[in-house]
Every structure is written in structure tokens, then in C-alpha cells.
Subunit: 323 residues, 6 copies
């Protein structure tokens, strides 16, 4: 079992008088848009425990509105120091090394190292994979799947000897559709055995869905937070919900929560470069207490934090599930 204790998980109790399954951190946003000199916005970012502290890979759009990913460290998961310069990726192939854009990273400890996946510009949006063991040296592996794809998220351990990745095939624009698929690989390079996981449903997830943080292993299944998009007459609205995937056949959905768990309602979620977006890319979990901390982007502009309890999430899934 992968999950272990994370005693220093960032935490704040549910506000009195509310019963929401997921609640916001009262000091949101934890990272402001201009937190580094070069940044226009910092959001949709991934955080992992690292050497008793926390490390992260952050989406920083600079003032040219170039999208890239940067390294950061934190003692408490709340106050962050983020590099002003983007990560440099070691890569022998000059064509693959060329920068087009990088965004929406996820980070996962898998085997003996941290893997990073992100939306990597290669003649369109593709799923880049790289790794680091020390958050100093970062090595680019390959684009896992052909363009046009986004929201590539690795399952945090091999299953039957195979790596597993969730992704959301897309087009090369502001895609108006999108389902989640799972692909398998013996080597993180070659991917196949693609299986449909789940598609859109009416309401908050009517337009497209995509995997959010790296799934959390529970005895009952993989807990997946995922975003869903609704198209209003003023554009896309991004919310997020949860599902539980089968441990051994993670393309099989056990539960899928009917309502969303968080939708854009605060100013930092509703006002910014892209209004009405909450977009989770990382979740921390402390098994002994059941605490979950979810990092999410607000309005494609800032980084925010929300909290939940594992048992309550599982109850929510059981009670509200609609497959």
C-alpha cells in the first residue's frame, strides 16, 4: 500500500456551520499571481511531500503569456518559494527539447523517483513525461501519447507490471468535448491497451472532463478527483468532483459522485484571466487522520487550497454515485 502518514499535511478544520464535503482554506489564494517577478499567473500546479518538507512543480505563465513549469519548495505546504526561471529539462533530442509550451503539471512518486507529467507543446498539446530524483536535475523522457491530448495523470504504482496513465484526448483549440481514457505501458515510452474510463454527463460536467490530481489509493479503489466543464452562454465553467476506480482495472468506475465537490464561487475563482475556473492538479493525503489537502488553480490566475476527509469523500461517493 502506497499511502503513508503525512503528519505535516496542510490543514484547517471545516468552518463551523457548514457541511460541505470539501471546504476552502480561509487564507486563499496561497500563491498570488505575481509571486515571482516573471509571472503573470501561477495556478494548476502539483505538490508532493519531499524530504520532510514539500516540493512542487508550478504552472507559471509569464508576462508574455508563455506557459511553462517551475520548481518550488515549501516548509508547510502553504508558503512557497518558486523559482523565477522555468525548469530546464535534460534531453538529447533537439526536436523534443524545443520549447513550445508546458502547462498543468502533475507529480507522482512512483518506484524510485518523481515523475512529472504535463501538457507539452509538440506540434499541438501532448503529454510530456519526465522525472527527477532530487528536484535538482530533471530529465525529459518522451511524449507519452500523440497530440492532441491534455491532463495526462499517472497512477502511482504499476498494475500487473504495467504503468497506467489517465488522459483526455482533445483537439488543438479550446476543445468542446473530452472523455477520460486509461492507457498502459511497459516502459513509460510505449503506450497501448487504451480503455475508455468515463465520459461527460449532464450538468456541471456536460462539456468535457479530465483527471485532476494523481489518484489516491484506498482499500476500496483509486480515489480520483477530476474536473468537469459546463458551457454557459459566457463560456466554460470548470468545477471538480470525484470518482472511485477499480484498484486492478482502473478503467472500471466503481463510484462517480453526482454533484461536484467545488465550483467557482469566490472572487479568486470567478475573476481572473479565465473567469469561473477551479482546477485541481494535486492532493496530499495523511492516512492516519484521513485528511486530504487539494491544490487547485483559481480562475487560471492563482493557486488555492481546499480540504476534505477521506471517509467523508467515500461516503459522498457511495451516496451520490451515478454511473
Amino acid at each position: 500500500m502506497l499511502n503513508t502518514a503525512l503528519a505535516n499535511i496542510p490543514w484547517e478544520d471545516r468552518p463551523a456551520g457548514t457541511s460541505d464535503v470539501v471546504w476552502r482554506y480561509s487564507r486563499n489564494p496561497i500563491i498570488q499571481r505575481n509571486a515571482t517577478p516573471s509571472s503573470n499567473s501561477i495556478f494548476n500546479s502539483a505538490v508532493v511531500p519531499f524530504q520532510g518538507r514539500f516540493a512542487g512543480v508550478f504552472r507559471c505563465d509569464n508576462k508574455k503569456r508563455e506557459m511553462n513549469i517551475h520548481r518550488g519548495f515549501s516548509d508547510d505546504g502553504l508558503a512557497w518559494h518558486i523559482d523565477n526561471e522555468p525548469i530546464e529539462w535534460l534531453c538529447d533530442d533537439p526536436e523534443l527539447r524545443a520549447f513550445e509550451h508546458r502547462y498543468d503539471p502533475r507529480v507522482v512518486w512512483l518506484g524510485d523517483r518523481y515523475y512529472v507529467t504535463w501538457c507539452n507543446g509538440y506540434h499541438g498539446p501532448a503529454i510530456g513525461i519526465g522525472y527527477t530524483q532530487d528536484f535538482e536535475k530533471f530529465t525529459f523522457l518522451e511524449n507519452a501519447l500523440l497530440p492532441y491530448n491534455r491532463n495526462g495523470v499517472l497512477v502511482p504504482r504499476k498494475i500487473n507490471g504495467m504503468f497506467c496513465m489517465l488522459s483526455r484526448p482533445s483537439d488543438n483549440g479550446h476543445t468542446r468535448y473530452g472523455d477520460i481514457f486509461l492507457s498502459r505501458s511497459p516502459d513509460l515510452i510505449h503506450w497501448g491497451e487504451h480503455r475508455f474510463v468515463m465520459g461527460t454527463k449532464k450538468g456541471w460536467q456536460e462539456t468535457k472532463i479530465g483527471a485532476g490530481p494523481v489518484p489516491i489509493e484506498t482499500p476500496e479503489g483509486w480515489l480520483l478527483f477530476f474536473h468537469g466543464v459546463l458551457t454557459s452562454c459566457n463560456g466554460f465553467v470548470y468545477s471538480f468532483g470525484a470518482a472511485l476506480l477499480d484498484l486492478e482495472q482502473p478503467w472500471k468506475v466503481i463510484y462517480r459522485g453526482g454533484p461536484c465537490l467545488l465550483s467557482p464561487q469566490t472572487t479568486y475563482e470567478c475573476v481572473g484571466d479565465v473567469p469561473n475556473v477551479v482546477f485541481p492538479c494535486a492532493a496530499l493525503y495523511d492516512q492516519p487522520t484521513g485528511r486530504i489537502a487539494i491544490y487547485y488553480g483559481g480562475a487560471d490566475t492563482v493557486t488555492a487550497l481546499a480540504f476534505a476527509m477521506m471517509d467523508e469523500i467515500l461516503d459522498f461517493l457511495r451516496e451520490s454515485s451515478e454511473l
Copy 2:
């Protein structure tokens, strides 16, 4: 003459130093988005006097973003108790009873009962009609008109023995056009004699228009508040204005105010699930004082209130009318 006194109409005088014909309630929004446990947003809702108090039918989108209509009561028209569960409609035909979506209700006292009309999902948006006599038991009648239609609003008395309904034919998406028509019926089931009432005009109403609250009878004509939509480069902007329709031939427009009366300007109108929306669905009127209270949705998220005086509205129409 239908209109009678409504001494307990919600009211607040025009703020000092302003001359707007319609002004906002200072404690808006009166209903917050999460006013019931299940709601994501409560807006575009209809209110009527009922047994010395007030009753209403409220559009509540739940946390799945399903759209449905709920009952509510209030002593003063300001503080509301809204049912957490949607209205259940009595209906023998299982196909008609099936729930697709219900939204944007209007309520009208007509003859011996309250009729409710709303946008009813039946293979697309259609105009559902039902009635209640006690706000306890609600009976579904029929879809008044074929899909695709929205903003069906009944005239509050028969004219020459016929029921009259305003509506706005649409398409099955976020429609980019829309004119108001009037249809007649002997029985509230079969509708015909469709007449064009009015179409779009440049400016705030350039994209589409739709009837708002149930028209208010005046000696000069039916006072109709209606919404108009402008398409900016960031989507639709919903404002509302007014017109006066002929008492006996309500498809004939006597006056049509040039400017809008209220456009989205406050935070609760500009920020929310759909930015930049004011959308009126109900108006109360106290004939002795001339006071009008208009209930409207803000940003497709909350319910707000605005006020006006009948004589000033009529003056506005006379002076600014453009047919």
C-alpha cells in the same frame, strides 16, 4: 381590473441623489446561491402574493447543476424559506412526467388558480404549464408549445375568452436570436393564432429579447418588463427594459422604451456562474401607491430585488419610446 392593493409590497425608497427609474434594493442579493443545502444557485424566480404573505417558485440549480423549480414562502417578500426538494408535479403521462430540466418559472393568478409556466425540457427546451391552488399540490398540464422555446409568460386574464401567452422561439443551444411572439388558446392546451410582438433592436437588445415578469395591467396597456441581450466579445450581456402592449390586442406594441432600465453593474450581477446577467421573472404591484417590486436573477447565481414607481415607468415609456 385585475390589479389590487398590495400594501405589504417589499419596498425601499430611491437612494438620495439618483434619478434612475429603476433602483436596486440596498441589501441585495436577497437570496444567496447556497440558501438551501442542495442549491448551487437560486435565481430567475417568480413571486406572488399568497394568503397575505408571499409564495414563490424558485429556480434552484443543484450541485450537479441540474435545473429544477422549488417552492418557497415569505412573510415580507424579502426573507425566504425555500424547499430543499423540487416541486413534484402530478401528471398521468409518464413521458411528460419524466424530468429533463425545468427552469425560469413565472407564476400568475388567473381565474381561480395560480398557473406556473417554465422552460421545460422535453426533447429540448419547451414551455411547460402547470397549476396550483394552494402551493401544496401542483398539477402538470401540458407543454404549451413545441420545442424549442423559452420564456413563456401568460397574460394574467383571458382576452375575448382566450388565454394569451408570450414566448420566445429558440434553438436547442445558447440561442443567438430571438423575438417575442403571442399565441392564444381556448383551453391552455391547444395554442394558435400566433402573432409577432416585437424583435431585436440595436444596442442592449441586439441579440435576443424575451418576456420577463407576468405583464401588469394598467389603464393604458399591459406593462411588460423584458430582457434584452447584447453580444460582447466575451459573451452575452443580459439587461432589462420595458414596453406597453395593447390591452385587447397585446401583440400590438404601444410604447417600447429605448434605453434599458437595469443593466449588470454590481458585483452580484457581474460575477457568478454567468457573468453580466440581470434577468427579471416576477414583479409585484401595489396600485394605490404605484409601487413596483421587481425580482430578478443576478449573474445566474442569486436573486435580487429592484424597485420602481408605475407613473415614472409610464413616463419613461412615453418619453423614450422607439417602435
Copy 3:
């Protein structure tokens, strides 16, 4: 039972060596695009037996590309004389009388007269209804349903005392969706009790469908020919197929043929003002022999004829039906 003998039905046997359920007349098109001095094209037209001969209402687009409907007569249903001037409609209401456009007529003998329905421009496409008793004097009744609607087709007798009309709600452009509904009326003026009949299906009918000729009564149900539209990467392709509707509840589909019966394949169907269109608007039936003659438009340019046998059509429906 409405159907009677029609000994002089136009006819040509199935070509040797083929087994198609529906086959084309070998001398198609029977009406050329310039058959009247004013016409640019003549297509999508309706034919009925009349006084031992045949009468028809023809869609003639003139050289300005205005769309209107004209009267015509024929001795044999093959050679037609069509008026150069459009039908003049008696109508007291100047607003209803105003010409916007008229197209795609159907004609049906119902009770004591011939009713004509067509797509009537009234602030967008609506369903106009008129009648004639002698093909000399034509009276306009009303627009049966609100815009935006097309392909309004009357069932040729009342059912439980009510008139029944099939129609296809649309938008105000080249609509990309469309299902068939049935509405009922006590008086041909007021319409209600709208019921969904059938929607699109994959393949030749994936984009939209619409009723074609007036349904033919058979002991097993109403035989409805209907067109279906597929969207290729070069636009719409119109084919037609068939379904059988319940005699007493004609919104219930008994059979719906899987394949289409005729798709655009000949030059006069594939080349013209709108390539790749076959569009049926009328069918004659001779009960004693089982012969059916179907009039259809080719490429929105000319009028053509196809033939079938009733028993073969019913066999086709039984064998290929997919509901």
C-alpha cells in the same frame, strides 16, 4: 378507411435485374428546372388526385431565388402544366398575408377539402395552413405553430376528433438538428398535446429528419416516408426512408426502416442548386394494385418520381426495423 383505388396512378415496373424496394422513373426528372418562364427550379412539390386527373402545389423558386408555391395540373401525373404565377391566398389579416417566403408544400384531402401545408415565412420559417376545394380559390387559415418550424404534414383524417400534424422544430438557419413531433388540434388553428415521434439515428439520418408525404393509411398503421440528413465534409446529404406509425396514437412508432430507401445517386439528384438531395413531398397510392408513386425533389432543382409496392415496403419495414 381513406384509401381508395387510383387506377391511373403513374407507374413503371421495376427495372429488370434490380431488387431495390424503391426505384426511379426512367424518364426522370419529370419536371425540369425551367418548366415555367419565371422558374429557376421546381422541386419539393405535392400532388393529389383531382377530378379524375391530378392537381398539385409546386415549389417554384424564381430567378430572384424567391421561394413560392404554384398550382399545376396534369392528366397523367407525369406531364404537368404549372402556373407561371404563384398561388394567391385569400387572407384578411394584412400581416399574415404579407409574403416572406413559401416552400415545400404538402397537400391532403381531409374531410371536405384539400388542405395545403407549407413552410411559411413569418418572422422565420413557420407552418402555414390553407385550403382549397377547387384548386381555383385558395384560403389561408393560420400559421399552425410558432416559428421556427418546417415540414408540417397533416395526418389525412381526424383521430379521436382531433386533427394531427407532424412537424420538425428548427432554427432560423440551415438547421443542424431536428426531430419529428406530432401536435393535435380541435380546429386546425390551436395546436397542443405535443408528442415526440422520433429523432435522429446514426448514418443517413444522423443530422435531422422530417416528415415527407402525407402518411398513407394501411391496416397496420400510417406509412410515413421521411427524409433524413447526413452531414458529410461537403455539407448535407438528404435521403429518404420509411416508418410505420400507430393508427390511433400516431406518435408511437411501430416500425422504422434501418436503411434509407433512396439516396442521391443520379446526376439530377447529385448536381444542381443543392447537390445530393432527394426530398419527397407527396405519394400516390392505388390500393387494389398496391402501387405507390413518390414525388420528390432532386438537388433542390427538379422534380422526379419513384415507385414502390406497398407490400414490399411493409416487408422492408418489418425486416429492417430499428426503433
Copy 4:
């Protein structure tokens, strides 16, 4: 050399602790949306020194959402009195005089008078040119270029005896493309010798760009502030940056700053009739101190002010330039 001292230029020092090249006025917005009784919004407006004070031409959308341009005066460039009625233009040709819409003015002192250019409705958006000598009498000259065009900006002196105008050819809607061109004229009536100046680039200026204020002459070249538009999944985002154009061949770009200088981040830039817009139309310059004051519209709703130092802008251009 045109530029002279402007000792009374509005000014506020850069806030402590920041290093932004352009910074906002702390009391923004300087003009509220309802600053005149008729106005719905006042933005995208042009200011010039005039008789020791300041005069301006202001875009005021009225409550019908008609777009027109109004005159205003100010002692300090901060507090403005704006006429409630739009400017009346002297013009002999009734067709040219007819009002369709006027918006986004620029004003420039050129030779012996102030020229005003704006987006002038003439069967679509065109570039209107007029002049005034006293801000009392305004004379319309001609539409400088054919529709569809916007953002016509005059270079503030003749070059080789020719007037020079920057413009951005468009379509007749919410255009999704747009490059800057320069045209020349002997008489301000007839324009030719059109040269491409610069086009879109990835990031904040990926969709379209357009000249902002009248260019400022410096020994190194014309300093041009220009807006750039990015298309997010919720619509257009307008930022602005800078470029330096060759003094004698102003269609040649010497420097073009990579990042934008100001993007929508404050509430009055992100919330309003069109969310996420900063749109500069005028800049004042005091050569002795190097101070620059930039007037810009916020959210197509209000008028705001930002400041910069000439030497810092030129440094920024040199250091970040990407051609």
C-alpha cells in the same frame, strides 16, 4: 521635434516595493461608468493638453448601448467634466453625417489643429477623421479607409510631406485576427502606399493587435503603445505592450517588447461590461522629466490611468525586444 514639456502632466510615483515598468494610478478608475447622466460606460478615450489644461474626446456608451464620442475638459487630467451630449460634427454630405456608431477615439495635434480619428460606423466599422481647433467646432473630413477597419491612429507629424496612419483591418464582427498596417496620404482624404507594420505573436497578443495612443516621438523612433488580444476559453483578454517604429519609415519596427506592460488584473479591469480589458487610447509625455501618463479603458466600462518613465520604457524595449 514635436514633443515639448508638459509640466502639469498627471503623475504619481511608482509604488514602493514594485518594479513594474508601467504602474496604475492608485485612485483608479478616474472616470466612473455613470459619470454623465446618459452614460452606461466611459472608456477608450483620448486626452490632449489644451490651453494649459486638458481636453479630451471620450467614448460614452449610453443606456441604449449606442456608442458615441463626447467632449470633456479637465484642469489636472484627473477630474473631468464630460458633456452629456455627444459631439456634433459639421459635415455637408448627409450620407456621411448619418450616425451609425462612433467609438474608440484618438486625438492628435498635427500642424495647426487637433485631428480626431475614431471607429466610425459607415456600413460597418471604418476610420472616421475630423478636426477641431478650439474643441468647440468639430468638422468631419472623411472616412479615411474602407470598412472594415478599426484603431486608426495618426502619426503626429507628416513624414516626407505625407500624413501617416496606422490602422487594423478587421471584419464586421468581433474579429478574430488583426495586424497593424501603415498608410500614407497627401491630403488626409486619399490614402495609399499601404505597408504591413506588425502582426500577431504567441501569448498575450496571439489573436489580434492594434495601435493604441498616438505614437510619441523620441530620438530613437516612434514609441507606440499597442493592445494585444489573447483568446481564453472564456473570450478575449486585452493587454497592452509597446514597440518602437523607425522615425522616417514608421512601418519598420525597431523594437517590439516581448511581454505586455499591463494586463487586466484589478477589479475595474476584470469586471464590467467586457471582462478582462485594458485598452489604451492616449498618452501624455513630459520630455524634461520623462514622465508618461497613459489613459486606458478598463473592462469596456471605466477610464483609468497608468504611469511610466520614458527611459525605462526604452530600456524595456531594448532588453525584451522580439521581432
Copy 5:
């Protein structure tokens, strides 16, 4: 008066039994798509009398589908020899000389030389102007108007000392709108005094219109053939009609024929690279006999010829005119 005799105008009498005002040459198309080794298609081309024979500038799309214009000669206006290589244009400015695309030429004798106008790629479609005196040496002048523009056609003599050009402002794609404007110039370089000439009308010209051949001077006005485009559900349909413009104020329309004169009906007009196109670019006129020969492109693939008589065209305009 410019028009003179052209005794050797190509000609064929109207076919017996028809009364069309414009009729096709029986041996159409006169130029096949592969008439030169490099050509994929030859169409939308301009012809003038030259030294007792005929010369022309031809749109030849090559097998890469690059669009360019080529020179050709003919003895009789029917059999043509067209250069396999495109015209080389003398031009000092390397930016203007660069080839992007050239298409849809018109040629006119004006003063002392032949001017050629065409749609010239310069950061989008613009109106290129060049001239030749001998059809050997061709000199490029300038782009007359900013992009995005097409169908630039010179009036064949100066009016009040000014050159006059008709054009059709467009966007940078397959434009869905388009009106005809007239601009004036003292020098063929700088253009201004833009006036609206005419816009779209319902039917065959509902989507866009554009000037066709160089106008023919008659005592009553300039005879302008122009194309009009209708949007069917399978794309654009190009027909052409005629109008008469005021001799001294050619932006004033005297007559505008209601119906089109020729619409795509033959195989070589309905089948080809772009189905359903007739597009005229040149007309010859023999004043003594009144004969007119119109060169037009068929289906954007071949060149065809049609004939008319001047008096009949003028009668047609008088009788059918709709302004």
C-alpha cells in the same frame, strides 16, 4: 464616350425558342482547365481588344493550387493561347514584389494604357494595381486599398479628374458578407472619398456581392455586371446580375435588376473545383450592333462565354429594377 465599335466581337445568336436575356455560348467552355501544362484550372479571367485581336489576363491555378495571373492572346476571342508561366511584374519594392497569390484579374484601357487590377496577396487579400502598354512589360503600381479586399474594378475613365474604383471589403477567409463600395483617387495610389454603392439583397445575392467586369459606359449610365452569392446548405452559389450606375456619381444606383441573369446550371458550372459558380470578370461591347460578350469562370475551373444585347439588358434593368 469611350465605347467604340468592336466588329470582331465573339458572337453567337440566341438559341431558337429561348428568351433569356443572357445566353451561353454553345461550345462552352472555351478554355479547359488543363489548357496549359502547369494549370489545374483557368477561370475568372479578363479579356480586352488589343491591336485588332484580343489580349487577356487569365487566372491560372497551378497544380500546387497556387493562384497566379497569366497573359494570353487570341485572334477571335474564342481560341486562346495562354502563357504557361505567370506574368512577371516590374516592381522596385521587394516587399511588394513578393508573391503571395494573385487572382481574379480585370483589365481596362484607361488613358494611355491598360491597367490590370486583381486580388493581390499582401498579408491577406488586397487590390493590386499594375499596368501594361504592350502586354509585354507589366509594371506593378501599388496595392490600392488595405487588406482585406477583393473584386477591385476600375471605372474606365476618370470622373471629375479622379480615378474611380469599385471594390468589395472582405475578411481573410471565405467571407460571409460583402457590399460594393466606390473609392476615388487622384493618382491611382492614394484612395479616399469612399462611398457605399450597394449591398446584399434576399435571394440569389443574399450573402455577398462583388463587381464583375469593368463597367460599360452607356448614355444612361455605367452598366455593371456583378456577382451575387447565396448560401445553400451545401455552400455558396455564385450567380450574376446587372445594375446601372450614375455616370457622374457612380456610387448612385439607377437600376438594379431583380433576378440574376445567369446562374450555375450546366455541368461545367455545377461540377468542378468549386461547384455552382458563374463568375464574370470581363465583357466586350460592340456599340454599333449592341452585342455584348461576357467572359466568366465556371465552377472555379474553366472559362466560359455568354452573350447579350445591350438594349435588352437595359430593358431588363428598367423592368425588373429593385433598389
Copy 6:
């Protein structure tokens, strides 16, 4: 070296008087649309030598317009017998076995068997791979790549031990963009190392491109015929051209022919279910004579044949190449 003699390759010499590098078979189309009782159209099909005769996998759209692939045999490659029923694929996974659609097959002999690739409906268009050894039993392997993808074509031998596949990532509609990529696999199941091969270019291939037949090995490189699509104002036009890819690094383009080799010009290419399509899916090659026979679909309706000589194709590539 894979290529061997194919003495019975279908063949017809180039017509006298022409110099086209690719020429059509004079008896085209070789397979009519109704060649099987169930077919609406037969096109975009793949042919291979098989046991001294020829076998093929044919795209047959049935009369429901369902797209599926059928087996066929021929003695001479010209006259074909095609099964009326589609191929049944052996597959254990019921989800993968489910039929959504199958179209545009390619067949290649690779190692010890024939592999078939096609566009396989799996929650959108994906690349299905299966194999057969005897054209009797067909086994489904997997979807090679995630949706949305089309035109998956295997290189006919392993390179450095890896299978190589060309494909064209797409969206889920009538995609308006598309480049060719190459992916590698150790097992035909898991694919990675994705490399960009080539993208669109102006002219006949401006909208999208896709690999056609299985590449033919030559000493100089892999000869790839590929289709290119141009968007006219009446939809897509499909032509085909050729390129030469590096033998060992087939994502490197050695030559890319500038013009297309065949564009839709005949009736069976310009008229049919999708006008203006030539779409090659298979090529036979007889090395000793240099003869090439290319099978291609015409108008998405029929199957046609064209011929070429290898040395002429290579000369064409060398002379016209534009990278």
C-alpha cells in the same frame, strides 16, 4: 528488401499525348457503388497480392450509411468479388469487439502475416489494428493509439526492431487540421516515441494531410503517397501527392512533391456522396518494370485506379520537392 516482382500488376499505359506523372485507368471506376447488394458505396479500400491473385479489404458503407470493412478477392486486380457481409473480427474483449464504425482500411504484409489498420470507432475515431494470415480468419489486436486519430498506416517492415506507424491525429468531427506523425512500438500494442513527420502547406494541402497507401520501399527511401485537403468555399477538396521518407528514420522527409499528383477532375471524382475527393489507400508495385498501381476512392462513392512509373515518381519528387 521487401519489394518483389508482381508480374500481374494491373496496368494500362499512359494515354497518348499526355505527360501526367499519374494517370487514370480508362475504365474507371473499377468498383461501382452498388457492387454488393448491401452497399451504398465502396471506396477508400486496400488491396494486396495474395496467392498469385489479389485480396483486399474494402470500405463499404451500407444503405444505412454504416461504415464497415469487407473482404474481397480478384484474379486481375480489376474485377472484384466483395463479400456482402463485413469482416468478423475475433476479439475476446466485448468492449473492443463492439461495433461503432470501421473505415478507410490499409493492408500490409509484415513478417508472417497481413496486418489491417483502419479508422476504428472507439468512443471516437481511433486506429484499429488486426491481422489475418489467410483472409479467412481475422483477429483484432488493439486500438493502436488513443482517439481521435485517423489514417493509421504501418511501415511494411520493422526498423531497428520496432514497428512504425504513420497516423494523423484529429478531432471527433470533420477535422479542419491535421499533420502526419510517426509512432514506434515493440509489440504493435504499445506505441511511443512519437515524431512529427510533416504538416500542411499552402495550396492543395492547406487544411490537412494524411498518409495514403502503405509506403513502398525504394533504395532511396520510403515512397509515401498522401492525401491533402484544400478548403474551398463549398467544402473540402481531397487530392493526393507524394513524399520520400528516410529509410531508417522515416520521420525525416527527404523529398516532398510540390504539386499534387491527382486531383478530382472526372465525374466519378467530383460527383457522389462527397464531391471532389480522390483518396488513395493502397498501391501495388512491380519492381522489375517499375509499374505502380494506385487504388483510390472517388467522391467517397466508388473505387478507381491510377498508374505511375517508379522512376518518374522519383524524378518528380527530386524536381519539385519543397520541404
